[in-house]
Symmetry: C2
Subunit: 208 residues, 2 copies
DNA sequence: GCTTGTTTCAAACGACCGTATGAATTTTTA
DNA sequence: TAAAAATTCATACGGTCGTTTGAAACAAGC
């Protein structure tokens, strides 16, 4: 394994655990068993390392989302359930592997607290995925106003983000045993069902 | 305003903006216009200050949740919508005031990334609220298995947490104008409708 | 008024941070 | 194999961190 990969792996794990500011280059290089100066040599700066850690996996993830979407579209007339499953599965299925779970945890952190420039690049990627998902989603929910639809997508992203955070989320702690033994596939089923019902709910009259 | 209050206010704002590790005592005391040493004098340590910042508002918030719940119960036969509104309103309505919004942003941060001991005390408070909400919730959803209900509450908390994070959440950035002009009351309406539909969705057969 | 207790203050401590440097080492190229 | 390029290494720099200290300023009680 190359030095850069060792650094990326160690940084990914530590960032997910302690956050970006809470993780020092010394902790990273020590965990990766490389020299302290190699981070600045290979990546330039700590900030550049953060970007590299995120970009290594975010592009494959979003491409996977789009691929899944186009697969269900190719089958013709995808259900709302199929569309949402295509959207949430790539991220949640990663939680089955140890490496993937680390990154997803990190991604959840970013989703909630985007930092500086990172937010922009993350946003750009999200937009690209969103423009693909929007039209077929709209077809299933023609009666919703644009405002209502955006709000509901907002809710969907929130729930997904929380699920990605995994066992660290608040409620899970108290009912940990129940959740531990649930596979990603089961979680996806439950999540998609919940979200589809919410999305399909008739819009309220605008009062107040 | 006492020194301690000045410190708590400044810390709350900076913690919400830059996180706990990202905020130095020097930044806090400078913003509060007090001496650097006063934090350690009045609170003992930075960690104790963090706890003090959170506890100042978390107890009133949770008491407000319980009070709202008991109010709708007192009226007799509360709808699922009324129950959920009682749960989400106290937090989301705080976002209308500047002070409240700062704290809620901070709370959202904690909800997603609970840190060390903080998680335990936060969990204890959540549990207290949950034991009050569970029974009436159960009444409305008798056909759900315990596992399914817990999962759905998990989803509810996730969506709420994301909404609390406010304008910093990812999607909002790209559609900012639309969301900026939505009041907390409108957001609560939309959120409750979405969540109730999800909660009421019939449970899947256990397959896979 | 003087004493006693509380709070503020400037200054300093050691520790750790991200980064830079130049020599030593390894790898690649000719 | 010798020269060149790329990488690793120990070390150091300036800066900021949380915390401590002891004196100064202030308040309250007798």
């Amino acid at each position: 394994m190359s030095t850069q990969e060792k650094i990326l792996d160690a940084a990914e794990a530590l960032f997910a655990e302690y956050g970006f500011v809470g993780t020092s280059l010394r902790a990273i290089t020590q965990s990766a068993e490389v020299n302290l100066a190699s981070v600045n040599y290979h990546f330039g700066s700590k900030e550049a390392l953060v970007k590299a850690v995120l970009q290594r996996r975010s592009e494959p993830l979003n491409q996977s989302r789009i691929a899944r979407l186009e697969a269900v579209i190719a089958e013709g007339n995808p259900s709302l359930e199929a569309l949402l499953t295509a959207f949430v599965s790539p991220a949640l299925e990663m939680t089955d592997s140890e490496d993937g779970a680390r990154y997803i945890k990190l991604l959840a952190r970013i989703t909630i607290e985007p930092m500086g420039e990172l937010r922009d690049s993350l946003n750009a990627q999200y937009e690209a995925v969103m423009t693909r998902f929007m039209p077929p989603l709209r077809e299933h929910l023609p009666e919703l106003s644009q405002e209502a639809l955006l709000w509901r997508i907002h809710f969907v992203l929130g729930t997904l983000g929380y699920c990605m955070a995994g066992k660290d989320a608040v409620l899970l702690e108290s009912q940990g045993a129940l959740f531990e033994q649930t596979s990603a596939a089961q979680m996806i089923q439950r999540l998609v069902r919940f979200l589809c019902a919410g999305l399909r709910s008739p819009e309220l009259d605008v009062s107040l």
